[in-house]
């Protein structure tokens, strides 16, 4: 099927595939250091053929390093890797691919201007004989190959579609097809659900099960407990580069997994409920934003009062970011009004708006939230550089900054927020995601602005830091400020928000009070269901905030695609 003549020979030379349950991959005593940092230390991991094996851990626990070594992107300092019983040494990912591994990275590596079929066969193209030998791609064979693989694994895909026009879920299917086209028998999925809608997550889990039933070994790298419980057969938990837990999923509980991951039981942040909200700090009225081609925010009205957190739910790209940008003033509006503390700021500059009491934790931490090539101290001073103690608005020091004050403030911040850093002069870009985000959060909260916009405040942040940031946001509300919280994580909204508005296609399509809000209802509205009927919700994930998580029944038959926790109707939308 694949063009390269050598493949047929390789097929013949391949040893018979190991039977179900035999080790497809064994990692034995794997160690890896980066300078003085130990990323992996004596890690043992056995992946049995035809199973779904979850590799869990917080950010920085070493799971990415481990997978990079398995896929040939890094070379282990010590230990041995065996694939299907044979010791291997990968000089690069190509060796890993040749040995039957495939990896779907968190950030897709796709050619946006090319078709799905071209992306799938790129580098291993079927050729047709022509005037110039076999120089030309056999497009018909490529399309047929994509269709055949798509049908076999349930990966709904149009081979002729241009990849750049596809949704995140469809792009991920293209990545999986790429690995399957190269006959991957061991498929590594790195944080595969980060970019997916709840219904896309269902479809992905169905594909994972189907692939495992067909004999493919699937490695699911994740830090989301409900995913592990929903789809895996076995779990290996990493912390600080070491294995801290091995479970058969059916014997594991959420609490045990959290303890293995964090070394402590996490106290779930609970929304302590709202007091009486005070005066309105943000009022958005009939706001529409256009990107010149289409309306990306259409007729949105909302208000945020002192002492409340208003959540905006929605799948990424449904207008939330543009709504925030319009409130902040970085994006012009097509229609409507924005009022901050009663004053119309629709046409005002960002600086004006901030001066009226607006602080922002941006979604893009490295692009907008921080200056990655500057130090922690400098980043913490951004926006505070005109006012005492760092700056001065009048007098001879006007326009000059006190570097001493900058440093001492940063040191206080580091201590207060428990930022793990070598000091305030460390570059913020070299901190882990969670620690960098703590600096951004601390800097913005320090404004004590009556309105805080927090856009995805815990994206890419480890569990410990998530708890800390959530606690800070609740304290901020308790101090009588209003927060507009944009999040793609339903659990985060349930934990924090007093009201949840759901955006879909640029409009607010649903609104729930904290009492009404459930994962199912929000998930259905996020998927664009006209009536958010909780009984037909498409969300596979059990509410992670709920303590009584039940593991999927391992005795249930696996041959049908839908999983016990993935309802049949999950694939619509």
């Amino acid at each position: 099927m694949v063009s390269r003549a050598s493949d047929d020979a390789a097929d013949a030379a391949r040893p018979p595939a190991p039977a179900e349950g035999e080790a497809a991959v064994e990692l034995i005593g794997i160690g890896k250091r980066f300078g003085s940092v130990v990323a992996n230390d004596g890690v043992d991991l056995v992946l049995r053929r035809g199973t779904v094996h979850a590799v869990m851990g917080e950010n920085g626990a070493g799971k990415s390093t481990l997978m990079s070594m398995l896929f040939g992107l890094l070379e282990p300092d010590s230990g041995e890797i065996r694939v299907e019983g044979r010791p291997v040494r990968f000089a690069g990912p190509l060796d890993a691919i040749a040995a039957g591994l495939g990896m779907v990275h968190q950030h897709f590596r796709l050619f946006d201007t090319m078709s799905v079929a071209d992306n799938v066969v790129y580098g291993a193209e079927p050729r047709r004989r022509g005037l110039f030998g076999k120089a030309f791609v056999d497009r018909r064979a490529a399309d047929a190959r994509v269709r055949e693989l798509a049908a076999r694994y349930g990966l709904d895909t149009d081979p002729a579609a241009v990849v750049g026009s596809l949704s995140a879920g469809a792009r991920q299917r293209v990545e999986i097809l790429k690995a399957l086209h190269r006959d991957a028998r061991i498929l590594i999925l790195d944080e595969p659900t980060a970019v997916l809608t709840p219904s896309e997550v269902d479809s992905l889990f169905a594909v994972i099960r189907r692939a495992a039933d067909a004999g493919t070994t699937v490695v699911l790298v994740t830090h989301k407990i409900h995913e592990v419980l929903a789809v895996s057969d076995e779990v290996t938990v990493l912390r600080d580069g070491r294995v801290t837990g091995r479970f058969a999923t059916r014997d594991a509980s959420a609490a045990e997994l959290v303890r293995a991951m964090t070394g402590r039981a996490i106290a779930e942040v609970k929304n302590p409920g709202t007091g009486t909200p005070g005066e309105t700090v943000l009022e958005v009225e009939g706001l529409s934003v256009s990107d010149g081609r289409r309306t990306v925010v259409s007729d949105v009205s909302l208000s945020v009062r002192r002492g409340e957190i208003v959540g905006i739910a929605g799948v990424s790209g449904n207008g939330q970011h543009e709504l925030v940008a319009a409130v902040l003033g970085t994006l012009g509006v097509a229609a409507g009004r924005v009022r901050l503390a009663g004053a119309d700021v629709t046409g005002a500059s960002v600086r004006d708006r901030r001066a009226r009491g607006l602080a922002v934790i941006p979604e893009d931490r490295r692009g907008e939230g921080s200056a990655v090539t500057m130090t922690v101290a400098e980043n913490a001073a951004l926006g505070h550089h005109r006012s005492a103690p760092i700056g001065a608005s009048t007098g001879i020091r006007r326009g000059w900054m006190s570097l001493k004050a900058e440093r001492s403030q940063a040191r206080e911040l580091i201590a207060d927020y428990d930022v793990r850093t070598s000091g305030e002069q460390q570059l913020i870009g070299s901190l882990s995601g969670g620690n960098a985000q703590k600096v951004v959060v601390a800097r913005e909260l320090a404004h004590q602005a009556p309105l805080l916009i927090a856009e995805q405040p815990t994206q890419g942040v480890d569990v410990g830091a998530i708890g800390a940031i959530h606690g800070r946001l609740l304290d901020y509300r308790a101090a009588g400020n209003g927060i507009l919280l944009v999040s793609h994580e339903i659990s985060e909204l349930l934990a924090l928000a007093d009201r949840v508005l759901v955006m879909y296609g640029g409009a607010i399509v649903a609104s729930f009070t904290a009492a009404e809000a459930t994962t199912e209802r929000i998930g259905a509205a996020m998927a664009g269901a006209a009536a958010a009927d909780p009984t037909e919700a498409s969300d596979a994930a059990p509410d992670p905030a709920a303590p009584d998580l039940t593991a999927p029944d391992p005795t249930a038959p696996r041959s049908t695609a839908p999983h016990p926790t993935a309802p049949h109707d999950g694939d619509r939308a």
């Binding site: 050619f111 990107d291 010149g292």
Partner: protein, 300 residues
């Protein structure tokens, strides 16, 4: 009226051909992710090498071959510097352009003991396709041209098809669009970039040969006079669609040919000389505005 006679079409083709070869070089470099602004310098080197080659071998085709091979070698600096050592291609290209001016002037003095221009008695220019003279329409357009003129168009179509249909073309485009993705699938980004840039050098050599042995039969210092930059503009204009290159280059060729015509009826030479560059500027500004509009649609 007489501006639109067949002779004018021939003049447009003549003016456009060197730009076409250079633009094709720039376009394939762009497809592989190397922004090549060394076209001007490489073309100038090609022109010098063509004249020197023709002078020493006594054959115009010997001159073309000399230009092709030596400009390919000349482009190795850019190819290896940018693709293997990850230097900034803009910086290397600027160096290339400055080096070409200095080196050709220097060699003119050292080898031929002259300056300004070099046109020795008996210097072989490229033969014209005089055998076409009696064919209607084709004759008046092509009889006075070298074979390199129609070859440019054939080459562009062939390269365009190869890019679109062949496995090598698919890989080449992938390297330019997302190098990491290509590398992860076993395609050597550095190799593609190196060889495509060197092939671009060869094309610039042909551009220089057509300029110095086809359009005229002389080498003068800095004789490319911005044609390489117009080729860069054409590359930006077609934005990754090489099959549109002829349209862009013929437009610039028409501006140059029209300038000559207008000189014939008394327009000041300085003004008409500026016409192709003025048009380049206008077209670039116009496309930037279009791109800016398009970009503002997709980014926020």
């Amino acid at each position: 009226m007489h501006v639109f006679e067949l002779g004018f079409v021939a003049a447009v083709l003549l003016a456009a051909t060197p730009i076409l070869y250079a633009a094709l070089a720039g376009a394939i470099s762009a497809q592989v992710g190397v922004f090549n602004i060394a076209l001007e310098g490489q073309m100038l080197w090609g022109a010098f090498a063509a004249v020197a080659g023709s002078y020493y071998t006594g054959s115009a085709w010997g001159g073309v071959l000399t230009a092709l091979v030596s400009t390919a070698l000349f482009s190795v600096v850019l190819a290896v510097g940018a693709a293997r050592w990850h230097a900034d291609p803009i910086i290397i290209a600027i160096g290339t352009n400055l080096l070409a001016i200095g080196l050709t002037g220097f060699l003119l003095r050292v080898l031929f003991d002259t300056s300004g221009s070099f046109s020795p008695r008996g210097l072989e220019g490229l033969p014209k396709m005089a055998f076409l003279a009696d064919v209607p329409v084709i004759g008046p357009i092509f009889a006075g041209q070298t074979a390199l003129v129609p070859l440019a168009f054939v080459l562009i179509v062939a390269v365009g098809l190869w890019l679109k249909r062949s496995a090598g073309g698919l890989r080449l485009r992938g390297v330019g669009e997302h190098p990491d993705a290509a590398a992860a699938l076993g395609v050597s980004v550095a190799s593609y970039q190196t060889w495509v840039t060197i092939a671009g050098g060869a094309l610039c050599g042909i551009a220089g040969a057509q300029l110095a042995l086809g359009n005229v039969t002389v080498f003068t210092e800095n004789m490319t006079a911005g044609r390489g930059w117009i080729a860069v503009a054409a590359v930006m204009l077609v934005a990754g669609r090489p099959l549109w290159l002829p349209v862009a280059c013929l437009g610039f060729g028409a501006a140059e040919a029209l300038g000559f015509r207008l000189q014939g009826i008394g327009a000041p030479q300085q003004l008409t000389d500026a016409a192709p560059y003025a048009i380049t500027l206008l077209v670039l500004v116009a496309t930037r505005i279009r791109f800016a509009k398009r970009a503002s649609l997709t980014t926020t």
